[in-house]
Amino acid sequence: MGILVVTGLSIVFIRDLFAVVILFGIYSLVSASFFVNLDAVDVALTEAAVGAGISTVLMLGTLALTSRREKKSSHGSTLPLMVVVVTGGALIYATLDMPYFSDPSDPIHHHVAPRYIQQSGEEIGVPNIVTSVLGSYRGFDTLGETVVIFAAGLGVLSLLGRFGKRPEIALPSPSMSHHLILRVIAKALIPLILLYGLYIQFHGDYGPGGGFQAGVIFAAAIILYAIIFSTESAQKVISPFVIHLLMSAGVLLFAGVGVVTMLLGGNFLGYNVLAHDPVHGQHYGILLIELGVGITVTSVMLSIFFDFSDRKRIRSIEEQ
């Protein structure tokens, strides 16, 4: 926890934005290991993949497109500091009413949580309680989250991307393939990362993992390929058109499962009707929606990354 605070505070004082972004990656990684301590293995996996991986890459991409140094702000820092101290004081005063850390008699542990812990084994048949809550009990929430991610992907696309036919871009995109070490290591690593992504995707019912984490890991593998062997060669493997198709296909798969369960006479996203045995139905349902989530997350992350990395070339075309 100390490391977290130190990293956070140093972000305030450092003016070199590159260092700020790298420090933020460290901050995410430290908080991920802290989540493991708090038994939140799924959250830790997500934070490590997202915070330390994708966010850092995106922020570096933004730095490359804008400027690296931060100018000194003109207005003083006394007023904001006072606001912060007062708010912080009020919040600390409020914590005095909170139940103590890890106390089993907290109100939070006596609402729906006992039901999830005691019944989900029989009702859903999936050992990882987080997966069963995510996929089944709160499936509607998860659908909403997936749509939000999809919408954010669309937003970035409309801000930075290029719709319709893309003219052949003359400018070659930067690549690092002349670095022998990077090339060899990437070739060895990428299949393993992809395999690990698949494992996380389909083993999410039994261990930590699921569609969100797997999607991010999968995207990370392809982004690594794009960074080292240039964006163009990555887009030959998976073209922007396919990515945009997959973005919507994932959401449609998720919502489609809901519609099918309704047509079969159940509730929206009530998977019991999907098979003769309710527990089997739950298994199929969770597997399918996790697949939908994974597809959407992968393609949205890729789409966002390609929008950022192509921006420079698109800009030079627009200027012509």
Partner: protein
């Protein structure tokens, strides 16, 4: 002493939250503001996950012979919040790139100056 240990996590969360808040309101650089927002977000996530911890509990994956599990509900909510967070961060960064293209700067002061406000 008991109060200190019992609430230590929450206090750290507040310190982090205020660090993020300070960056957002006091600093003019837009990328730094986004980093500040992310620190704020992480502190909220730590707050929720801390609340879900149960003493002597295990990670919420059903295993034979384990009776006490930590609360899985905050984990589910925060997991999705992280992924949605990165998606919205990407949107914010995309906006920053467009702002830079139009104004030639990502400093709040320069942008205000060009707009003639303040």
């Amino acid at each position: 002493m008991n109060t200190f240990l019992g609430l230590y996590n929450y206090w750290i969360v507040i310190v982090l939250m205020m660090t993020g808040f300070y960056i957002v309101i006091a600093q003019g650089n837009l990328i730094k503001k986004v980093v500040g927002l992310n620190i704020f977000q992480t502190s909220v996530i730590i707050l929720y996950v801390s609340m879900g911890k149960v003493k002597d509990g295990a990670a919420p994956i059903l295993t034979d012979g384990i009776e006490i599990y930590s609360n899985p509900l905050p984990h589910v909510l925060m997991l999705t919040a992280i992924v949605v967070g990165v998606a919205t961060t990407a949107l914010a960064l995309a906006l920053i790139v467009r702002i830079y293209e139009d104004y030639g700067s990502i400093e709040e002061d320069d942008i205000h100056k060009q707009d003639g406000s303040f």
